[in-house]
Symmetry: C2
Subunit: 273 residues, 2 copies
């Protein structure tokens, strides 16, 4: 059962590899190099079937996805013939949004006999269970987390994003394509008059998977850099849906949270599964 990691950009792929009992085969999409890993293979969507053949040749039977991949701009000149035949199918699902596209990506791998497994499943140590991992919660923080979870669910249900920032009930930012770091930078740049009085509650970053996404792919991830960015944004902490979010180096996150006086809360979602 050889595992291949289909690695996107950022620090998550290396964290996942470090959490596995042995190094997997590592494939990376051209243009989305993982940090701190040397891929065994680089592929392009336009040549997906040759890529599948290379995975089979390497004895791969299972794959896991980790790391950021944005919709690549496809180059019609590069299409290999069998991949070109699935273009209409891909275009159809792309038009339906990310959730549908990622489900289709999973289906394409599975049709090739490659079992798709979730990062959370192969590296459960990266998914902290419910609990408070740093700091203290005020009742205001708990109310803000409840409100933020409702906003994130609404955003996720329309396949728009996986998080938001809430302070004293006010939504200071909603995550979309630009991602968490960009959202926190927006919050850091908010004019003082738009922010509720920080004396009454600093607010929080909340992250959760989208309600309709396949959890084997594209789980939200948090790391020490997120903690520092949340501190720069003036927030009181980070809350996330327990079981639905990957953490990169939780001890380092806890250390950064302690340095900046932030809480870290893996919060029960109140939703089934």
């Amino acid at each position: 059962m050889t595992l291949a990691l289909i690695a996107g950009a950022g620090a998550l792929p290396a964290a996942l590899v470090a959490a596995l009992p042995q190094r997997p085969f590592i494939a990376a999409m051209e243009g989305f190099a993982p940090e701190g890993l040397t891929p065994d293979l680089t592929f392009r969507i336009e040549r997906l079937y040759p890529f599948f053949n290379a995975l089979h040749a390497a004895g791969v039977t299972r794959v896991a996805f980790a790391g950021a991949v944005r919709r690549p701009r496809l180059d019609p000149a590069l299409f290999e013939p069998s991949t070109a035949q699935i273009v209409p199918r891909l275009m159809h699902t792309l038009a339906q949004g990310d959730d549908a596209t990622l489900r289709e990506v999973i289906a394409l791998f599975e049709e090739e006999g490659l079992q798709v497994t979730g990062a959370a499943e192969i590296a459960p140590s990266l998914v902290p269970p419910e609990g408070l991992y740093a700091g203290q919660l005020t009742p205001r923080d708990q109310q803000d987390a409840t409100r933020a979870a409702a906003i994130a669910e609404a955003l996720g249900r329309v396949d728009a994003g996986q998080g938001c920032v809430v302070a004293q009930g006010i939504c200071l930012a909603a995550e979309t394509i630009a991602g968490t770091d960009a959202m926190l930078a927006q919050v850091a740049a908010l004019p003082d008059m738009l922010r509720p009085n920080p004396q009454a509650g600093r607010g929080l970053l909340y992250k959760a998977p989208k309600p309709l996404q396949d959890r084997r792919i594209d789980l939200p991830a948090l790391g020490p850099a997120t903690v520092r960015a949340a501190a720069r944004a003036g927030l009181g902490g980070i809350a996330w849906e327990a079981g639905g979010v990957l953490t990169l180096d939780l001890p380092a996150m806890q250390e950064a949270a302690a340095d900046h006086g932030l809480f870290l809360w893996s919060r029960a979602s109140g939703r089934a599964g």
Copy 2:
């Protein structure tokens, strides 16, 4: 029937005044000066009942709200005694979000015998009916507007914001406390790799009232500056919920749209009233 305009910041109050048959009494909240208008009276939330008395003394029987007002930070030292008595009530609704707060503000005025009327009702010329006011729509634009309307409805239903930016089905930004201009600046600053190929559709700004808001207050507004900001963000146009959005100087918006090759589309919502 003397009308008072409770004016917030920005250009909308002056546009509303210009659209009325006669100049109303103009009141402005301290710190939120309307552009191009000289208020007859400036008030603070901490002294709401003295403000009501001043409106009565001026013969005011009807009020309309227009312009941006953010949640003010209240100064306990400034509270007049009768206003202080409603603080618990205000705090309770503030905790429930903007929709509840604005309904409570309306209720406070109505309890004083002041009829609250919508800007759209007293100046219907500011609310363009369904129609295409500039440019041309592609099928892609129509799909993006459908998707954007669904996202804006989801965001609005959780009382988070009144708009979003969508390109080729992808949500590039969602509006929250920082407002439309900040959202368009974020989109203008998006790294090229995060944007879908502009050849296949430039995307649009979409604006709509929140589904649960009282439409007598805080309708979204668009103006020529919005058109120019949408152009800077690389968008193909602006769509909005017909009947639910105020326009400041539609002819100037049309001129700016023509200059930049943008469409302006007042779109039937498909929702009842």
